[in-house]
Amino acid sequence: MGGLWRPAWRGFAFCGWRRSPAGRPTSFAGVEQCLKPGRSGTEGAERGLRQLGTWRRPSLTRDLVVQPPRRPKSSNPYTRAQEEEWRRRNKTVLTYVAATAVGMLGASYAAVPLYRLYCQTTGLGGSVTAGHGSDQIENMVPVKDRIIKVTFNADVHASLQWNFRPQQTEIYVVPGETALAFYKAKNPTDKPVIGISTYNVVPFEAGQYFNKIQCFCFEEQRLNPQEEVDMPVFFYIDPEFAEDPRMVNVDLITLSYTFFEAKEGHTLPLPGYNGSQQLSPASSL
């Protein structure tokens, strides 16, 4: 493409030169050529002017040799090699940067299943307390100067006809001490009923310190007609409760249980008790 423009540019340059009063050495031969009428160079120049636009004119005095867009600017072989080298390096860097960007995007998408896998293997599963086992219970020391009142609440879903109530209204515990509490449930109907319960702890922030060792929740409990049973809850409050600055004013914790009826074929999305399974009425005690 550069070659095509060359004659047109040259003609144009010489014609423009003639018009501009620049103190540059003129080439009389070129001027005379321009002045001759009907010269093909003039028409080519006009064609070039029309196509390129008049703003090209100021640079014409320098660019006597037509430059194609991609040729290196200097004609010196050493600097040209250096420019080639820079261009190649730029391309490499650009490739690396683009690859990193794509890699980051892919990593952000892959992070979701990977994190899930990590949680499954290490068993952290979103819970903060990692060392949460029977060793902790064994070694924990009751904080005797911090007495907390735990009140009990019992609720029943409307469709469940059990009489469900706590057997003590409150209990005073200290953090680090295991405690036992009882609920009582009676089935006054003439049919066996299967219930399943969940619990709630108020205030919410204290709920993370409330650890149940054993209870009757999240598993189906079957009551025969006219049967009445005691349901114990064995729990403790984590000793770190006493060291949490947000818990300084907390003296009352309310444990609230709610029973629902477990119907056949009705699965309840309860927390990962049996290894993140959905509980269905088919599972037994």
């Binding site: 209990i171 515990v173 405690a179 036992l180 969940t198 060792i213 025969n224 114990p232």
Partner: protein
């Protein structure tokens, strides 16, 4: 569960119990121990620390009758009571 479904507020996450669920005592085998424990609580103004011996007995009853997995008492937080009823605060 929190009833107000506000976006951004953390809702309560119930956690499963550490050792699972108590099997139901359908035949009332440990009811006597439970009554003793509740009587102790009522007498002591519902202070759990004073009735730990009774709660230990209730759990031992459950363990004997296969209503609870056998565990050494230390693991249930009764380490101080395992040496006899010395510690009564």
């Amino acid at each position: 569960m929190s009833t107000a479904m506000n976006f951004g507020t953390k809702s309560f996450q119930p956690r499963p119990p550490d050792k699972g669920s108590f099997p139901l005592d359908h035949f009332g085998e440990c009811t006597r121990f439970k009554e003793k424990f509740l009587k102790c609580l009522r007498e002591n103004n519902f202070e759990n620390g004073l009735c730990r011996y009774e709660s230990k007995e209730y759990l031992e009853c459950r363990m004997e009758r296969q209503l609870m997995a056998q565990e050494p008492l230390e693991k249930l937080g009764f380490g101080d009571l395992a040496d006899g009823k010395a510690d009564r605060r």
